[in-house]
Subunit: 513 residues, 2 copies
């Protein structure tokens, strides 16, 4: 396989076939340049089975923009499309259409607004709003969803695990169990959502973080197979890395070999003026073993070294480990809070795959088409009222209460500004009888959520650093009520419509029926 | 972000940091060129919760080999590693080590055997056996697992869905919900495992298949928003694609608008001598709607057009749909078998993410090190006996019974050949009391599973086509007993050890304890 062929599979053809067949139809019908608006949003939070998300963390935009800026129909791409046959063996895509793709098949006509990466987001709120010529705005759908769904899914999982670990250091370890090259996007999303570092060297390089990792069981096995011992392996590691000595202690027997050997090596380092970093536990009852490890380490005067936990961790497992430590540690003379504050979490499979719910259901729906200079709202009916998208050209706002906590997101028509509405009426998007009126005194702040990203394909937005995204995330999470942040059965956050948008939606539904 | 930076993140640095810290330790300790053997295998079949796999389909090797052949430490990679700091701010990776990586940091010393892609495989059987100089064989671990775990996971899911759909046409639709760039590997694996085609244009190009897809709801919405109708949209589609006319009929109202409109358009096509392809149902009760669709289509003389089903399908949903059709179709005068035989399945999210169990637990374990020309077996103890890897330099075989059905995989030492053992003793890998003796009359065939792939980095294996992999898959599945293939609670397939391997394992465990 040639590298250029492989690259081509991540270029403009990184899309679904039906986007191209529709594009040719729009081209043929004279509709290709009709301005259309598509909203990208997700319908429901990830539901992991025994536990559910009450918020998501938005991520993926920078890499989508990167893809959009480079994507073009190459000569090779067009040759492939030219070779496709219809049901009678004739050319499926006509030469004039392919020629148009060659000349004008780029995203230079796209105008986009979006909610920035790192922000807390909720269902049915447009996270990305795309306006542009119908054919190319339609072709964009697949790659947009591919880039944004996955990173938001993983950023959300990382935020939950970080929260469950009480903000202690969180390391992303998932490259080996990730979905092939999606691993890099997943690691990036984890860094935005809650991970402090990753073991993935390449993505650390790309994003400017130091990667984390020390050694595996295999290193200890090599020394033993060659006639040496676990202690020899640890000593070798300390010799090569005297100031980064973190030892995996469960290859032979954690309590009777690993930890005592680590302590011996740490004592040697201390004598030479080096500061040992810690130990890692990768099997067994991690709560119990971390207590016994702390007990032994404290006894030897190493009460400050880290205890890294790994092995199928996720937010629920961590929650249980901490609960068990609080209950069991005092029995061994170990202070639970001191132990918890020295824990580090290495999380692999269950973070990078969002185990429990491996996809975010983000969609990209046509909500308006321009006709004669006016935006005509479009609607798609469904037997399930929750699945009817909110139509039209609109904006999204976040309402903060008097205590500066976010209490609702509000969707309104583009020419509406809820900052000047008093009292503010929030309509339930589906339930006709549910509505809520907020007086001025109940609102501290109404924040517009969407920012301008692209203006006719030109970037009008400075991409924030990962650090800025993390600060935004922490600020947003801090402004949620604890019930919404809760890991299990979270309290429901409201996403409402203005009266005018609500009426538009009802009118369109009635007309369509 | 520069394209070269992005590419670098998929090159040699597509690994975990600890592989590099271990490699430097081996370099420093004079162990870097010690020949080591690592076995890659998975420990358990995917468990989707309410249903479980009883077999896996092996996939991913070709792309791993592609990665290995190209991976080198670039000047940029080495600069990044040179810039990494230890705990005291000194250079973490020394210049002599980096210089060695620059000169010798490739997989040219690797010898590999593997079970070919498309084959049915089982837990604890080595799927890939890597022999090579310790440092580079260790660095390979992460990328090897990344490439093989995910594709085998998805090929397995595709095989199950294909089986559940009784072998009818299966289309992979998952690009938008996939794990970013992992989408292409996932689509490839789906094509190996059971999908006939994919909607993903780029990967179809790369692999030489025609991509599949027609139109989305948005096309119908555009026509309606501009003052037209669903029928206008369908007619436009038929005008542009008269010989590929497959219409999505659920944008407005499936039974009262979509199907009647499709029939009108199909009648027009028929008059002009074109053959309509079919309809697609993407919401609602797919079993009921497909019956009613068949009823209307049959009534209009279109009993041969396809009915494509999509919307959160997986093996269990398809199983239920078919059961319901068998029960309910006769009530509407529709022959269930005829209906089932015209169904096509479009499967997105739940295939590309292996919803229910989103990771295969493949591992890469050190099983032997060469010392003084001899292979010294290595072992890793565990409190869970099932997690103790089978040690040593060994081979894998498949045993077929008198009915030419596979009844067990057998692991033996490298110098053993079960073809010359009679009777053949199969030891249970963990349970000391469980064993089974097979006389010559009970065995029709003993097949070696591993084939030579790389000899000192040189490829000695001709990569088979996807078509060949599919044939192999069908042949292997046909040689499983139906109970093993079963989608729920499958019968347990045996993976056994020869007497000598079993004794070696017991001796090593005793010595290590």
């Amino acid at each position: 396989m040639e590298a250029s062929e492989r690259a081509s599979a991540y270029g403009m053809l990184y899309t679904d076939q039906y986007q191209l067949t529709m594009a040719q139809l729009y081209y043929r019908m004279g509709l290709k340049d009709k301005l259309a608006q598509f909203d990208h949003f997700f319908r429901s939070y990830p539901d992991y089975g025994a536990h559910q998300a009450g918020y998501c963390i938005n991520a993926g935009l920078a890499w989508l923009l990167d893809w959009m800026e480079k994507a073009r129909f190459s000569a090779q791409d067009l040759d492939y499309l030219r070779g496709q046959k219809d049901g009678t063996g004739e050319q499926l895509f006509a030469d004039d259409f392919l020629d148009w793709l060659r000349k004008d098949g780029s995203f230079e006509g796209i105008t986009m607004s979006a909610i920035p990466e790192g922000r807390v987001v909720h269902p049915n709120v447009p996270l990305t709003v795309v306006q542009g010529p119908l054919a190319m705005a339609q072709i964009l759908e697949t790659s947009l969803l591919n880039h944004l769904n996955y990173q938001s899914l993983i950023a959300t999982k990382a935020a939950r695990i970080h929260q469950s670990g009480r903000g202690r250091l969180l390391l992303e370890f998932g490259l080996r169990r990730a979905q092939e090259r999606g691993a890099n996007a997943g690691a990036r999303a984890a860094l935005i959502g809650g991970a402090d570092f990753t073991s993935n060297v390449g993505i650390s390089h790309l994003l400017g973080y130091p990667p984390k990792g020390t050694h595996a069981h295999s290193m200890v096995q090599v020394f033993i197979a060659l006639g040496g011992s676990e202690l020899d392996a640890f000593q070798a590691y300390a010799d090569v890395y005297p100031d980064d000595c973190l030892l995996l202690v469960d290859t032979v027997d954690t309590l009777h070999s690993g930890i005592p050997n680590a302590i011996k090596v740490f004592e040697g380092l201390r004598l030479k003026g080096h500061q040992p970093v810690g130990i890692r536990l990768d099997s067994g009852d991690l709560a119990y073993l971390s207590i016994r490890a702390a007990q032994q380490l404290n006894g030897a005067g190493f009460s400050d070294v880290s205890i890294v936990l790994s092995n199928q961790l996720d937010e629920m497992v961590i929650l249980q480990i901490l609960t068990q430590i609080e209950e069991e540690a005092p029995r061994y003379g170990v202070d639970p809070e001191a132990l918890i504050s020295r824990l580090v979490y290495g999380v692999g499979t269950r973070l990078i795959t969002s185990q429990g719910d491996a996809a975010l259901d983000g969609v990209y729906k046509l909500v308006a088409v321009q006709d004669g200079g006016d935006w005509v709202p479009a609607i798609k009916l469904s037997e399930t009222p929750e699945k009817i998208p909110n139509p039209g050209h609109k904006r999204a706002w976040r309402i903060y209460d008097a205590r500066e906590h976010a209490i609702a997101d509000l969707l309104g028509l583009y020419d509406e500004d809820p900052r000047s509405m008093a009292p503010l009426l929030l309509r339930h998007p589906v339930d006709h009888s549910a509505q809520r009126e907020l007086g001025q005194e109940a609102i501290s702040w109404v924040e517009p959520l969407l920012v301008d990203i692209l203006q006719d394909g030109r970037r009008v937005y400075e991409l924030p650093s990962i650090e800025t995204m993390r600060e935004q995330r922490e600020a947003d999470l801090g402004r949620l009520y604890p019930g919404v942040r809760r890991i299990m059965n979270p309290h429901h956050y409201h996403v409402s419509l203005t009266q005018r948008l609500w009426e538009l939606k009802q009118d369109l539904i009635a007309a369509a029926q």
